[in-house]
């Protein structure tokens, strides 16, 4: 690792998203909103105030005619190995401390200063500008998996953490090992619902998990890798222009800067 601040875990939950398989349908975003009790906005056209733990971006190769190509990039929280958001939090409302390496966010502790939002280069964190309002009847369909957030706190994707806890309970019930879950035992809502199978999820350090090989493939890359935040979300694309966009020319200011794997 390039940066010494990275904390090592026995299990490292990671996501590998195949951008060549992603059709941009947005099912992951919807599944995420349902799983995590994100209330529909009164005015969702105001993109400064919407909440979307999982957000699909459209990428373009900026060419016209027959050469024009697009790709879609789903962006959850990167659960960075060396997160920028954690050290800036003045109240330890967010930390990376639990086995598995998921960056936690404790809403009742958050004071809403939004330093973490300023620090996160992936814009993965969101601020509750309003109290959540669920349309009549919808409150009956709320998920018990995620606690409700009031106005004035920051929230973000946590790889559907409650599903992790439930998977561990299931393993204990079946006499398995909760500290070494089998591939597929723990699956976030977005990975589960993706109709094209673009999102894979598992322990990137465990050879028995599918993501172990996927994350080390030659077409695998991470977003803004040069910043040294060591994200736990990997992307795969056979298209070179897509891979180059992942770096956003952060190191050299020039497109196509050399990529170094940790």
């Amino acid at each position: 690792m390039a940066h010494g601040a990275t904390k090592e875990f026995k299990v490292t939950w990671g996501m590998v998203i195949d951008l060549d398989k992603c059709t941009g349908c947005g099912a992951c975003m919807t599944a995420c909103q349902v799983e995590n009790n994100i209330a529909p906005m009164v005015d969702a056209s105001n993109k400064m105030r919407t909440l979307s733990w999982m957000l699909v971006f459209e990428l373009s190769n900026k060419k016209s005619g027959a050469e024009a190509e697009v790709a879609y990039l789903p962006r959850p929280c990167m659960q960075c190995g060396n997160p920028a958001c954690v050290p800036v939090c003045p109240v330890i409302a967010t930390e990376k401390n639990e086995e598995g390496g998921i960056v936690s966010q404790v809403y009742p502790r958050c004071i809403g200063c939004r330093y973490c939002m300023a620090a996160c280069p992936y814009h993965a964190r969101y601020f509750n500008w309003e109290d959540p309002i669920f349309p009549k009847g919808m409150e009956k369909a709320l998920s018990p998996s995620t606690s409700a957030r009031p106005r004035g706190v920051v929230e973000k994707c946590n790889f559907c953490h409650t599903r992790f806890m439930q998977a561990k309970d299931k393993a204990r019930q079946d006499g398995g090992n909760p500290e070494g879950l089998a591939d597929g035992a723990y699956m976030p809502a977005c990975a589960e619902i993706c109709p094209t199978g673009a999102i894979s999820f598992g322990d990137v350090k465990n050879k028995e998990h599918k993501v172990f090989d996927l994350a080390q493939g030659k077409d695998a890359f991470r977003l803004l890798e040069k910043l040294g935040l060591n994200p736990q979300v990997y992307y795969v694309s056979k298209r070179e222009w897509v891979r180059k966009l992942g770096d956003n020319y952060a190191a050299t200011g020039k497109p196509g800067a050399a990529k170094k794997h940790s």
């Binding site: 639990e98 404790v106 995620t146 393993a171 019930q173």
Partner: protein, 194 residues
Amino acid sequence: MDQKLQELWGEVMEEKKQCKGCGGALPFLIGFVAAVIAGWVLFPNLLYSKKVQPVRFSHKVHQEQGMECASCHVFRDDGSYAGLPNNDKCMECHADVVGSDPAEKIYVEQYAQKGKEVPWLIYQNQPDNVFFSHKAHESFECKECHLEVGKMDTPPVYYENRLSGYSKQTMKMWQCERCHAENGVSNACHVCHK
């Protein structure tokens, strides 16, 4: 004007001098005791409302029949905890009145036969942002964390915090943290919070 003010000031100072005898140990003691009573007795009484269970359920009677905690409080197949039993479980025995206890009659007639679940008060209810796994704590005895209701004929009074709505008897975060620390278990936020 100035003279008047000076006269007034003089009067005030004289009154102060007369008041010298008011201080001392006794008034302090009276004030201290009053404050202690207010803080330890009056305020908690104001803060918590007392509630009783809708049915006077006797854990003792059931335990004397040879039943264990896990006979009614069960784990589901996915390892989650079902908590309190519902009518299906109770009606395995109490579809009709089988004993002579008036509390049983109330349960059978007002709840079981009407198909209505009993709105039990849960002493250990945790806030929305807590994920507690009973499965992970299976090796402990129930009474290490829960009230020892097995020996009680009448369920204990439920104290509800009027401000927060939470039970007074629920486990506090410092208790969770202390036990985790003593047993060398992680106290990372996500271990318990969601």
